[in-house]
């Protein structure tokens, strides 16, 4: 008799890959029903059949049991996602759940084939439990794979784990519930404090990790705002050897007083320097470690300017195309179980990597330079060797190339360089002339063009030789403030302080941008965030504490290892929140008033697009008509009865409009940045209809 299994995949692309991995030896049938595609795989030579149906990511969500809009709210349950939040795909999810129920009637057992991590485990578990029933949970096996290649998938299905990974599921349930409890209760507490104290309803969202992350940015902003540069002086000296100029560096890099710097220059000017010795040193430059997600995100930001969330999206798409391994990993290790040689061999069939791969194939051993970080679920990010089936998008190609080259570099060999330091002296003053020679390019050859190493050869010199100082001068410099965070460096700080997980950090940074708490690539805190943080620091500093958040993260991680329990952590969370929420309630008036004034200021600043060029004191304000709901721009003096300014301008009805602080050189109207959904942001002057610059652009 044929045994039938319902295989739950995480996404439609993954389901297709799983199904195709069993072809052509077995019969794979694609079936379309109610707008969904699923696959039937009938195995030849055995009485086994798989029905592979994909989820659409999470299709269940937490919802409060009661209907009140108050706090604290501690009673939750899992419901189909369309019951908890407005979603465009409600109809699709409803029919998908029905299909899961329907197909489950004809099967003997279940297989979770979602990504092997917390979210993937939870997606399949919730479908089994909430859509099918508790019996399905106990009758389910787990497929564990790190790439969507035919080989890995077949191997995973041939070696199914006998049960679901309940530790991962518990960790997922806990994380979702804790985040939900924090988000819903704190957001409501802050929003209701505004409503109850000012009678205005404005939602002010916050979450468990957002506050502590913001507090890091606020702290950096304070350092930058109170930064006083320290003056110092550099000595710049030049010698001419064999008709070529060489820059020397003075042994003290920073001279702390102008007097001392001028004394050095006056003493050494026009004098001969004597070469005391030439020091040589051989040094190895280690190969890079294989990428984990955060290292990939930080390199993609450094090299291409991609935000961490964009890199993650691209990496996921490369994973779904079976080109790379699972990207949500903390591991910097490629285990011995992965056949590196065969991957390199496959890469040698891809023209851009053919030469590099061939060089490596001639090596006896191919060992990666594994890092210290590990992840029990997945290895470090590496290419699968599979050639792209279709042409990759430009950003996908960049990230793929980076991953392949990191992989080739990590299995190549260390680079070796020789550094030279010629030490010149005049009395007690010492000057250096440095050079560098590459002995073995090693991994740098494989990681080109992402790493550069300059070569500087020393001229021919003899110890004891005297060389006249051609030029010497001092220059004033100042120390620099600490740099602002960018999305990649903020992500690193979050990782270092264990805020969020590898999968959630990039999204949290995006949320801070979306909620108007931070702006720009070199991250600046907005007045809104400053005010919110100030209020929270005063009345409930514990929700901003990175230390408390880190401890909670650690406890949740312990669940993954079976060392802590969901009940205990949820109880602790409820106790913590009860205390915080009581504090907010007690200080509702002060908190609400302060937050409302911050919001007013924020929205006021948001609407203010710049100075009106047609009157002396007017500002051009973005206004939404209460009658028509349409947006337009008008001078703040437009509504005055006396000295009225008639300036009124049309503006795009969609997207976000931000003042740039600049004025048009043609017409003098403010220039704004317009960000339309799904399109590249562009700048335009508010007088775009009549402005000469726009007319010229249109003609072009």
């Amino acid at each position: 008799m044929t045994r039938v299994a319902l295989v739950i995949a995480e996404k439609p692309t993954a389901a297709k890959r799983i199904a195709e991995s069993f072809a052509p030896e077995n019969n794979v049938k694609e079936i379309k029903k109610n707008g969904h595609t699923y696959y039937e795989v009938t195995f030849s030579g055995s009485n086994l059949k798989y029905i592979i149906l994909p989820a659409l990511g999470h299709i269940f969500s937490l919802k409060q049991k009661t209907r009140s809009w108050t706090y604290p709210i501690f009673d939750t349950h899992w419901v189909p996602i369309y019951e908890a939040q407005k979603t465009k795909s409600a109809k699709k999810i409803r029919s998908l759940i029905t299909l899961f129920k329907e197909l489950s009637q004809q099967v003997d057992f279940f297989i979770s084939a979602c990504d092997y991590d917390i979210e993937g485990s939870l997606i399949a578990y919730l479908i089994l439990k909430e859509a099918i029933g508790e019996h399905a949970v106990n009758n389910a096996q787990r497929a564990k794979f790190s790439t969507l290649t035919k080989k890995d998938l077949r191997n995973a299905f041939a070696n199914l784990l006998p049960t679901l990974n309940f530790n991962l599921i518990e960790a997922g349930l806990t994380r979702h519930e804790v985040d939900w409890l924090f988000g819903i209760n704190l957001t409501r507490a802050l929003t209701l404090s505004i409503k109850n104290s000012t009678n205005n309803f404005k939602i002010l969202s916050t979450g468990r990790v957002q506050g502590p992350t913001l507090s890091f940015i606020v702290e950096r902003e304070k350092e930058i705002n109170t930064f006083i540069p320290t003056p110092f002086w550099n000595i710049k000296a030049q010698v001419i050897i064999s008709k070529k100029k060489y820059e020397l560096t003075y042994f003290k890099k920073k001279i702390s007083s102008e007097y001392e710097a001028s004394e050095i220059v006056n003493t050494c000017k026009g004098k001969n320097l004597k070469l005391r010795e030439i020091k040589e040193q051989k040094r190895n430059i280690s190969r890079p470690n294989p990428f984990n997600l955060s290292k990939l995100q930080s390199e993609a930001y450094r090299l291409f300017g991609f935000t961490p969330s964009r890199t993650l999206r691209i990496a996921e798409s490369l994973y779904l195309s079976a080109l790379i391994s699972y990207p949500r990993t903390s591991s910097e290790k490629i285990p011995v179980s992965i056949d590196i040689r065969s991957i390199v061999k496959d890469l040698s069939n891809q023209p851009p990597y053919a030469d590099l791969a061939s060089k490596l194939l001639s090596k006896k051993e191919l060992l990666p330079n594994n890092g210290s970080k590990d992840d029990p679920a997945h290895p470090a990010i590496h290419p699968t060797g599979t050639s792209p089936e279709k042409e990759l998008r430009s950003d996908e190609r960049k990230v793929y190339d980076l991953i392949v080259k990191n992989f080739l570099a990590t299995i190549s060999e260390d680079a070796a360089i020789k550094t030279y330091k010629a030490i010149f002296e005049y009395k007690s003053h010492i000057f250096y002339l440095t050079g560098r020679e590459i002995l073995n390019l090693g991994w740098i050859e494989f990681y080109k063009p992402y790493y550069k190493l300059d070569v500087q050869m020393l001229p021919s010199l003899e110890v004891g030789q005297e060389i006249p100082l051609h030029d010497i001068a001092y220059s004033e410099s100042f120390t620099s403030p600490p740099p602002r965070y960018n999305p990649a460096s903020l992500l690193k700080v979050m990782e270092k302080n264990e805020l969020g997980t590898k999968a959630t950090r990039a999204g949290i940074i995006d949320t801070l941008y979306k909620r108007g708490y931070i702006r720009n690539n070199r991250i600046e805190i907005t007045p809104l965030a400053s005010s919110v943080i100030k209020v929270l620091e005063t009345y409930c500093p514990e929700i901003l504490s990175p230390e408390l958040t880190r401890q909670l993260e650690q406890k949740m991680n312990e669940i993954e290892n079976g060392k802590n329990s969901r009940e205990k952590i949820i109880m602790e969370t409820k106790n913590f929140l009860t205390a915080v929420l009581n504090k907010i309630k007690r200080n509702e008036n002060e908190i609400g008033t302060a937050l409302y004034s911050a919001l007013e200021k924020y929205y006021g600043l948001q609407r203010d697009l710049g100075k009106c060029p047609n009157c002396s004191d007017g500002r051009l304000i973005l206004i939404k008509s209460k009658k028509t709901g349409k947006r337009y721009v008008a001078c703040s003096n437009y509504f005055k009865e006396e000295n009225r300014c008639e300036t009124i301008l049309p503006i795009s009805q969609k997207g976000t409009i931000i003042s740039t602080g600049k004025t048009c050189t043609y017409c003098g109207y403010p220039v704004v940045k317009i960000m339309l959904p799904g399109k590249r942001p562009f700048r335009s002057c508010l007088n775009w209809i009549n402005c000469e610059s726009n007319k010229r652009n249109r003609k072009k």
Partner: protein
């Protein structure tokens, strides 16, 4: 150097006190006062500005407090709150006679 510091402090504080109209709000931004008529942020900038003077005086020799402030606020990378306090001190005469 201690004497200079004392003089600086007394002059600055007097100048601030003279020009402060609203006794409960920061003379620069209007936020509630922490100390010496400055809010928390501007007070911390004010303290840093005073503390750093010694280092600058040593670096340039014979640098007056006024010249120090002028030089500090002219540097692009100087912090915003420091610049605001510096400009305020110059405007209010908090750096005279030094």
């Amino acid at each position: 150097m201690n004497l200079i510091r004392e003089i600086v402090k007394s002059k600055v504080v007097t100048a601030i006190a003279k020009s402060n109209n609203n006794k409960n709000s920061c003379v620069i931004c209007g936020l509630p006062i922490k100390k010496d008529n400055f809010c928390e942020h501007h007070y911390s900038a004010y303290i840093k500005l005073k503390e750093k003077y010694n280092e600058w005086a040593k670096a340039y020799l014979n640098l007056s407090f006024e010249k120090y402030i002028k030089k500090v606020i002219s540097i692009e990378t100087t912090g915003k709150w420091i610049k605001e306090v510096g400009e305020y001190l110059l405007k209010s005469g908090g750096v005279d006679e030094n």
